[in-house]
């Protein structure tokens, strides 16, 4: 067995209006990407029960969960200009969050392979007490919090084109979780400055590298390699979870980064270097709204991790962003110095 597929979910529930980009068809495109790999018997499909309330309470407030459940039970509606819920969205969201927990459990049992969690609604914008950005429950955070509670050290790499404000906020002051994000800036949700480095109990354990529109794959890889790698190596994660949005692809309608499917293969190789041993890597679907790009990028990413040749598009080079990476390093250093000064003066 090579691939643990915890999902798909969201193929029937949580139906979007026809104009909305966060559609069931995204999951079909993703599954077409998995089929390209021709894995057949090498895929394990564990059953994916819904997350229990106790799992969700690690990252969401009880009042928010009650409100979301009641809102859906009353028929749902628009939560904000981007985000909607339907009668069945509460179940869909719990199923998506549960799939991540299933992926972790299956990896623990097998001790090998890579897990992929193709679910919707996506999760990384959902905050402790707020739905936003198409997200209702924070799927990757639910999985990471379950591990962190057991003392495991969890690295979350978020290569979605949008900053994962929800994940950052949830683990802002959590010393067992390192959050690393590359994202287009300025862009929704408006968070993710390099100077956002974590809370007093986790200084430096939030790493943001905002990048300009047009940034290519080499820029994103450099951002992770130069800014995040030293922090990751010092952190020494037990687990690596990826908020794997594919909307950084150049064909995506919701962002303006310029990655190809081959860039996601390169990013997968890079992230895999941070896993301490086999069976400790899980990728969670976040964004990605162009069906062709989604299919090709999923095939390229998983193919790279499984050692399969999928002939993706060539990696991209030469876009803007190297200056912004240097600026991010400086902003980050200054922010950390400031925190150090504050802690010293408190202790003094």
């Amino acid at each position: 067995m090579k691939l643990i597929l915890a999902g798909p979910t969201g193929t029937v529930e949580h139906t979007a209006d026809p104009f909305h980009p966060e559609q069931q068809s995204r999951i079909f495109a993703v599954m077409d990407g998995v089929r390209i790999l021709g894995l057949e018997d090498e895929v394990m499909y564990p059953p994916t029960p819904k997350a229990e309330l106790s799992d969700l309470l690690r990252v969401h407030s009880r009042s928010y969960l009650s409100e979301l459940e009641a809102f859906c039970a009353q028929g749902g509606g628009d939560i904000d200009p981007d985000t909607y819920a339907r009668t069945d969205s509460w179940n869909a969201a719990r199923r998506a969050a549960g799939a991540g927990l299933t992926a972790i459990a299956a990896l623990q049992e097998s001790g090998a392979g890579v897990a992929f969690v193709p679910v919707r609604p996506p999760g990384h914008h959902a905050e402790r007490d707020r739905a936003m950005g198409f997200c209702l429950l924070n799927n990757v955070a639910v999985a990471a919090a379950a591990l962190a509670e057991k003392g495991e050290r969890v690295l979350i790499v978020d290569w979605d084109v949008h900053h994962g404000n929800g994940t950052q906020a949830i683990f802002w002051d959590e010393p067992n979780v390192l959050y690393v994000s590359t994202h287009q800036s300025p862009l929704f949700p408006g968070t993710g400055k390099a100077s956002e480095v974590g809370g007093p109990n986790a200084p430096g354990l939030t790493v943001n590298v905002p990048l300009p529109a047009g940034a290519t794959g080499d820029v994103v890889r450099t951002a992770i390699d130069h800014v995040a790698r030293p922090v990751i190596e010092e952190f020494a994660p037990d687990w690596v979870l990826v908020s794997s949005g594919f909307d950084a692809h150049r064909a995506d309608p919701l962002g303006e980064l310029a990655l190809s499917s081959g860039d996601f293969a390169e990013l997968a190789h890079l992230v895999n270097e941070f896993t301490p041993r086999p069976g400790r890597l899980a990728l969670f679907l976040e964004g990605g709204y162009d069906p062709g790009a989604l299919q090709a990028s999923v095939a390229a990413t998983l193919g790279a991790l499984l050692g399969l040749s999928t002939h993706p598009e060539a990696p991209t080079y030469g876009g803007p962003g190297m200056t912004e990476i240097r600026t991010a390093e400086l902003d980050r250093s200054r922010a950390l110095e400031k925190i150090g000064t504050m802690i010293s003066s408190r202790e003094g």
Binding site: F19, E67, L68, Q74, R130, G133, H162, T191, L254
Partner: protein, 145 residues
């Protein structure tokens, strides 16, 4: 007496946000406070799947002018994010808001739930006073002075 230096009002082009802007503009005129009109750009608007900010700006500046706000005191800002987060960030900006003003839309339709109601969420999370203006205020529902 409590006075405001910087009033921030959320504007999305809805009738409720027009009422909020009219009230905020009248308060700006009466007190001399700076008026910052904030339009939050979400995922769909960025992708061109919702109306873009430009027409909103024209409408907003006209409402502010009609309500008597001095043009030098009025500023238009387009901010990435959901409306609630974008407005909350304004209270921690370099020139921070000391009063947030929003329309009241949403709470009735959602049975008083915080979900979908920017006004209720702001009231819960804001560290500065929040004024919620009912749509009925627009054009004759009150003077705001």
């Amino acid at each position: 007496m409590i006075t405001s230096q910087t009033i921030v009002v959320g504007f999305d082009g809805s009738k409720d946000s027009e009422a909020a802007l009219q009230w905020a503009a009248r308060l700006s005129r009466a007190t001399g406070a700076k008026l910052r009109i904030v339009h939050a750009v979400g995922l769909l608007e960025h992708a061109g799947m919702e109306q873009h900010a430009a027409p909103h700006k024209e409408a907003a500046m006209q409402i502010a002018a009609d309500a008597g706000a001095r043009s030098d005191d009025v500023e238009w800002s387009v901010v990435d994010g959901d409306p609630c987060s974008a407005l909350l960030r304004m209270t921690a900006a370099a020139d921070p808001a000391d009063l947030l003003v929003v329309g009241s839309r949403g709470s009735a339709a959602h049975g008083g739930s915080l979900l979908g109601s920017t006004s209720l969420e702001l009231a819960e999370h804001s560290t500065v006073p929040v004024t919620i203006v009912p749509a009925a205020f627009r054009d004759g529902g009150g003077t705001g002075e």
